[in-house]
Symmetry: C2
Subunit: 509 residues, 2 copies
């Protein structure tokens, strides 16, 4: 496949004067070709086309939309190794990781296709008429959920396949019946274009209306702002920094018609080491922790950035094991020079914070843009007096908070902001303590993990990848799993309709 | 029961220096007693108490919460005629209407109790572990929905029972497991206190934690603002004006932790008269329309404030019948002097709009604060050129828009803002046209009614009382029916939990 550097406004390819190139972070050099930069007029054209496709797209039999999603999966696989090679050049991620990520991407699309073929995604409810009810008859009432309208999807840097152009948000929105306008992440435009070509080919193959998908590129915040402000866009899905997520939310709230923004922003994913778990397996836990922390150079939303435990010999042993493991982890190349720079600055900022001590750094090497792990410790008192200590540093950096006892642990937990996950390491002997902590943990996170690690997000019906603000802008939602589709649906009630005028899924016959 | 005029901060009664009195709108005179006005400190105390009750309340067996809701229903009925008499004095609503509204209020509470006794309100999903899955095992994942936290409920003036202190929002929030702090509507504080006493008695009787319910009164916007801004409040439910709803939303969005506001604000509930329906039954439709328009002096969110039809003999006949019927409707007393004033000003404003003609007024009388019906007409061209013509005038005022044909009807429909309802009058001969209009109608409203009238909102599982902005601030939700509970729930995933630590509803054994 040729990478043209063009924008895709529906099936139309557009090139512009202004352009940018991707960077091979590993080699610290630009990669060809040049990518056209979308202007506000391109955003408007893509949104208008998405709107024009909306009614036809949403009224297609769900089985046809399922076929479209499956065709996208097949077309992505058909791109072959070229996709993985380009993604590796643009992201620095290892080939094995990208192969797994492609499988996840294809799996997500197929999962939503399966979901569409089941009948219950519309949430149908039927209250039959009761003509002889007193004092007034009850009319026939039938409810289904319909899609909200075109969705603007912002690709994430850390999942160039699974949370980008044809990632989880795009799959969920298309499944719901919403046309999608993607703002591609500028770190991986070539990967994005290859995937866009796969989507366009799948749309043609399955006879989808033109405009069901567009891809716009650009490095300027104005492009994203123009998309979110466009009156044809009815919801936004975003994964990235808190600053960017909040900026988009502000634009969405200021519209004549405000719209929901599902922004997944930041999380430090606290890990609680309960006393018996620590005394039974501190060394193993220390090693596992470092493996989770440094997986993918720490560039996961669910990276364990905070450890809470009661001080004592068990915690000392855990820390010693972690330091030992950390020394053996060579720094991997980070996703982009910008992320690498922000990581270094973040580590320096934390190291300077009052009451924080640097316990260890990971192994050093001369890899360009390498993210060298960093392990910090602080006291509960210092943590409680400075909320910034617990903030996210995107990358393999983590903080151990030593607590004096249960009461202090609870105070620290209560201060922590909303999270994607909280993890508990425990044995049966810790059960009573775990039960006392649980009500707090439930209020803090979207997913609670026992005796595992937060990295590794299963794509399945019971998954929740979300959580209270500021982990996300909408704690009632999840961006992973079948439940992610609900973000793009709203209920409509049909009262007293003749059967023939009802949508098929609501008909009696 | 004595009406004390006190605030209820949980079970504690508080009186303050500053006070106000209710007004008997019919007699245009104040009613005793004086009602204490809550200050910011009272709002803070109520929110803190709600927070302290939250974990215990939400972790009660759902059956116990169901018992609480049923006890509230029983206690409200036990207040007896005194409640109806006070509500009539404070609202001007007729006794029969209030008797029906009380039945609805009690019915709503019992409906949520029934819902709680079913297992599926938590939305449980279970993905069992697959230990031997390659390349990595699948962990055990279990999802349920938990309540978001304390909810601030703003009572509505037009339903002193069914959408006020123990109305639909309170019932839905309590059912979900959220403590409630009610900001009572200052138009009916005595009614509010009688209901609050019933709730407090029910909470004691069923041993609910103190703080599960509070009632604050005041006439100042600052009180509502303080509630919405309080960090212990995690969601807001509101029914009222667009200005007030948007003001509260702005406060909620500006919080350190933004929270969802479910504001039901304004709707003109368009009624479409399709050609054959008009030619077959114009006279009957005209009479039915006026009955719906003037029901409850037009003070319903679902009042038919806009009629769209193709011009011609059928429409002329409909209008003539409506004018005739209108002349026989005596003006009823409106809810408050303020609403009466706003209605009169609204009618005058519409009458002065370019291109609008006043077709008829309802019968006149010297009833104090009487809402005299008003019927207007305009052309599609005038309507399209001035969006304000279609705005809500709360009360028995309505506008007929004459359209030249289907294309113009569609243009008018596309311009209309989000609505709670859209109604179609049609016969089998109108089916093709109705099918062409349906995609637009679905995008515009939460409930579509065929051959009925929008007033009369069934409380049942398939009901949607919501709709796209500005009908509500969150078109993904409904404030009536069992689905209303979903507004106050969020999903949590439990990964790898030992059975004994899981919430009961998620346990295997």
């Amino acid at each position: 496949m040729t990478i043209s550097g063009e924008l895709f406004i529906g099936e139309e390819r557009v090139s512009t004067e202004e352009s940018f190139r991707a960077v091979n972070t590993t080699l610290a050099q630009c990669i060809e070709p040049a990518f056209s930069t979308a202007a506000a007029t391109h955003a408007a054209a893509a949104c208008e086309l998405a709107w024009s496709a909306f009614d036809r797209f949403r009224n297609l039999d769900a089985g046809l939309r399922a076929g479209f999603l499956e065709a996208i999966a097949a077309q992505i696989l058909a791109v072959g190794d070229e996709l993985l090679i380009r993604a590796q050049a643009e992201s620095g991620l290892a080939s094995a990781r990208l192969t797994g990520e492609r499988a996840r991407t294809v799996g997500q699309l197929r999962m939503f296709a399966d979901e569409l073929r089941r009948s219950d995604w519309e949430g149908v409810r039927i209250d039959p008429a009761i003509p002889d009810r007193q004092p007034v008859p009850r009319p026939d009432l039938r409810l289904r959920r319909i899609p909200v309208g075109p969705v603007a999807v912002f690709g994430a840097s850390n999942f160039p396949l699974a949370f980008s152009v044809a990632g989880g948000d795009t799959a969920a929105a298309l499944a719901a019946g919403c046309p999608v306008v993607v703002k591609g992440h500028p770190a991986h435009p070539g990967t994005g274009e290859l995937v866009a070509q796969a989507i366009i080919a799948a749309a043609r193959e399955t006879n989808m209306p033109n405009g069901v998908f567009s891809l716009l590129n650009g490095r300027d915040n104005a492009l994203g702002g123009a998309l979110v402000a466009n009156s044809r866009i009815k919801a936004v899905a975003f994964t990235g920094s808190r600053a960017a997520g909040l900026a988009l939310t502000k634009i969405a709230n200021a519209r004549a018609e405000p719209i929901p923004v599902y922004a997944e922003m930041s999380s430090v994913n606290p890990v609680l080491l309960l006393p018996t778990a620590l005394s039974d397996g501190a060394k193993r836990l220390g090693r596992e922790y470092v493996a989770s922390l440094t997986l993918g150079v720490g560039q996961f939303c669910t990276n364990p950035g905070l450890v809470l435990a009661q001080e004592g010999a068990g915690l000392d042993c855990f820390i010693a094991a972690a330091i030992g493991a950390l020394a053996r982890v060579a720094p991997g190349v980070m996703l982009t020079p910008g992320i690498h720079r922000a990581y270094q600055q973040g580590v320096e900022r934390v190291a300077r914070s009052p009451g924080v001590s640097l316990l260890a750094r990971g192994a050093d090497s001369d890899v360009v843009h390498g993210g060298r792990a960093a392990l910090f410790a602080t006291s509960a008192a210092a943590f409680l007096s400075n909320a910034e200590i617990g903030g996210e540093v995107f990358g393999p950096a983590s903080m151990v908070v030593r607590c004096a006892g249960e009461a202090e642990l609870l105070r620290v937990l209560e201060q922590i902001e909303g999270q994607l996950t909280v993890t508990l390491h425990m044995t049966d002997s810790d059960l009573d303590l775990a039960a006392r902590l649980l009500p707090v943990l439930e209020r803090k996170a979207g997913r609670l993990v026992v005796n595992g690690w937060p990295t590794g997000v299963e794509v399945s019906p019971a998954m929740v990848h979300g959580g209270p603000f500021p982990a996300t802008t909408d704690g009632r939602s999840s961006s992973v799993g079948t439940i992610a589709m609900e973000r793009f649906l709203r209920p409509v009630c049909y009262q007293g309709f003749p059967d023939v005028l009802l949508p098929k899924s609501l008909r009696t016959r």
